[in-house]
Symmetry: C2
Subunit: 409 residues, 2 copies
């Protein structure tokens, strides 16, 4: 029996928007880059600009299947009156013609084939009829018609992609069009994940009374991976000063480190004091529910989160505070929140003293509360999203219209 209480309440709770601002100011996008084959670069962020070193298409090519002609030869053609031209060749895709087209002649041409010398337009096959090598043309074409001129899509010297561009399938296609096999992208930031707490054990082991399975390492790692970073699961460590100090100081291996647990009243001074001693604490204690016992600081000049031990608190604060940090760190664009409006199926209460993140599932267009307690993982597992109950509101009636931020959209 100790003679000193292990507990001390929080001193000052930081509002959500202030906390987000502090985090944003202290997270800096990663500078390290790597060279990747383009077929491994989907979803990554470009760290160099891409300049076209040739025109695309690289030659005047046919935009249609049909006949390359001299446009002037088709002047009198229409649906009723055909012009007859002499087919002097067939160009399959990928082939070029040695022939120089003369008046009265045409060359059958596939989409994408280089326009033969002498030709200045293509008549679509739909407006022709063939009789062996005599081709009837039923439509007039203008000079340049159905030709994709060299450089129409991309001009040599043009900046095609910029540093910081997110590599969508379309942008990867541009890289391929330019003949690129590799690109420089920002590396995925390494994020260390620790679960702290003497009561926490690995799933798959046998729990004794008082022990519970580690949840946060798994939810945090999934969140980290989904947001452009590389989770490095460091497992469960005891809430003891020497162990925690060692872990905190190891953070120099990582670009960011996330602890969960150990920031509640009982043990939070431990992590807080260690970070204070070896680095800086920017805030400790948030004016939100769930998720009050959250810490953000810096150690070895690397950002550090101390997330609540409670699974729901840890996960909801991950959506609100950690994801923006991960995405800034990895150069990903901010999440575009998808929101939907729905009426509450039931009346609910809030304590009014803190902003509450209230999880709901959407059933038949109604917002059905799933929030139970901060300690309950099912609050998050079964939720489609959450809405924010402002400070000062202590109850909401069934039927109240709420604006739900969806977890997945």
């Amino acid at each position: 029996m100790g003679d000193k209480s292990i507990m001390k309440p929080f001193e000052k709770l930081v509002p959500r928007l202030d906390a987000m601002k502090i985090i944003n100011e202290n997270i800096h996008p990663i500078a390290r880059t790597e060279n990747l084959p383009i077929n491994e670069a989907a979803g990554r962020v470009l760290s160099e600009k891409i300049v076209a070193d040739f025109n695309v298409p690289p030659f005047d090519r046919s935009a249609m299947d049909g006949y390359a002609v001299i446009a002037e030869d088709t002047n009198i053609a229409n649906e009723a009156t055909s012009v007859k031209l002499n087919r002097v060749g067939i160009l399959y895709a990928g082939e070029k013609s040695g022939t120089i087209l003369q008046k009265g002649q045409c060359i059958e041409i596939s989409t994408g084939s280089p326009i033969p010398k002498g030709a200045n337009a293509v008549v679509m096959v739909e407006y022709t009829k063939s009789h062996q090598d005599i081709i009837e043309i039923f439509r007039k074409v203008k000079s340049g018609e159905n030709i994709a001129p060299e450089g129409e899509d991309i001009k040599k010297g043009e900046i095609i992609l910029k540093k910081g561009d997110f590599l969508t399938p379309g942008k990867l296609g541009s890289l391929a069009a330019l003949g690129k096999t590799h690109v420089k992208v920002f590396v995925k930031p390494k994020v260390g994940v620790y679960s702290t707490g003497s009561e926490i054990i690995e799933p798959g082991t046998i729990a004794k009374l008082g022990q519970i399975f580690d949840i946060n390492s798994y939810t945090l790692s999934a969140i980290i991976e989904e947001n452009g970073c590389l989770p490095i699961k460091k497992g469960i460590i005891r809430d003891e000063e020497s162990v925690l100090t060692k872990a905190v100081l190891e953070s120099k291996e990582f670009d960011l480190v996330v602890f969960s647990g150990g920031s509640s009243v009982g043990s939070r001074d431990l992590l807080g004091n260690i970070v204070e001693t070896h680095g800086q604490v920017y805030f400790h204690g948030l004016q939100v529910k769930p998720g009050k016992p959250t810490l953000f600081g810096k150690i070895n000049n690397k950002p550090l989160f101390g997330m609540p031990g409670y699974p729901t608190s840890c996960l909801s604060n991950s959506y609100v505070f950690l994801i923006p940090a991960l995405r800034k760190l990895s150069h990903l664009p901010p999440v575009k929140e998808k929101t939907v409006s729905a009426k509450l199926s039931d009346s609910i209460k809030s304590d009014g003293g803190r902003e509450q993140f209230f999880t709901v599932t959407i059933v038949d267009g109604k917002a059905v509360p799933v929030f139970k307690q901060s300690g309950d993982i099912t609050s998050m597992a079964n939720a489609d999203g959450f809405f924010i109950i402002p400070i000062g509101i202590t109850s909401l009636n069934a039927g109240t219209e709420v604006n739900i931020i969806l977890f997945y959209s």
Copy 2:
């Protein structure tokens, strides 16, 4: 010079919605499953239901840091009048107490610790003051207050996750809470990707006149990967009957196979005829622009797409037709389209005969056209999304409000 034309126009164009219906009816979600560690299962789809085989929490635990008490002892406590209790122990997280609490006693307790025998409530530390082992209590608690009872979150026997559930971080957390180390999920369907065309060469090689780099293998593989499937890049094959027939028949290795190119007028009969001979063609030719020369069929009882060779056509049809197929195949929920409304920055034209997918980028809240030609990859690379111009509309004025389907949200 051949004496037989290689070309034949399309016979009947299928409207978009009919095509989507045909695809949907002929894609069946994959049945094969695999067993994965839960830290590799994020974003996968469960192929088994998960039943809780114990209660969570597995014991009555403290929901707060504070003092476990007998509620009746606190009846007269309030802000002005304290009750003094004798602290007979400290319970750190993960520890259990052997003590049976007696009247007039309390035990200091951390969040998550098992409630000691005899206690029936917890007073939050915020409402107490400690003087060595004498604890002053300044708030009355009711029986059960600040206790998370055994099974509060999950009850033994309860179905926690269902077959077909998409594994979000929260759902992975539920699995961990139940002590699961592995789960059964559906395998990622294998999707074969072929680029066909004698003019197509690999990026990184030297292009001769008439040759262009393969784009579609890269864009298609990225699309396939983003939508729950495993792309298997089979590379570039020539548009020749024997080569194409061999490739088409190889499709039995895959759960779905995608060809691009070879379905335009010049060569499309080749793929069409092969699929017709060895399987079924469900449609060939769509009433959409870009993307008319698209084929969908079945070979070896596996679905087969013949996508247009033009990069923009191939990619826009992937968004509209292929992604829904990939997601159904892999059990992923359909994409929830994110749309925004914006005014056109410029007047545009459409041919009116087909629905047109018109790509735009959103600049200062305006929809700025980026569509150039079907052959242009930058139409897609630079686009934020597209809107659909209905059949019969041949022009839209600047300022027209359009509803844009975003590629990424």
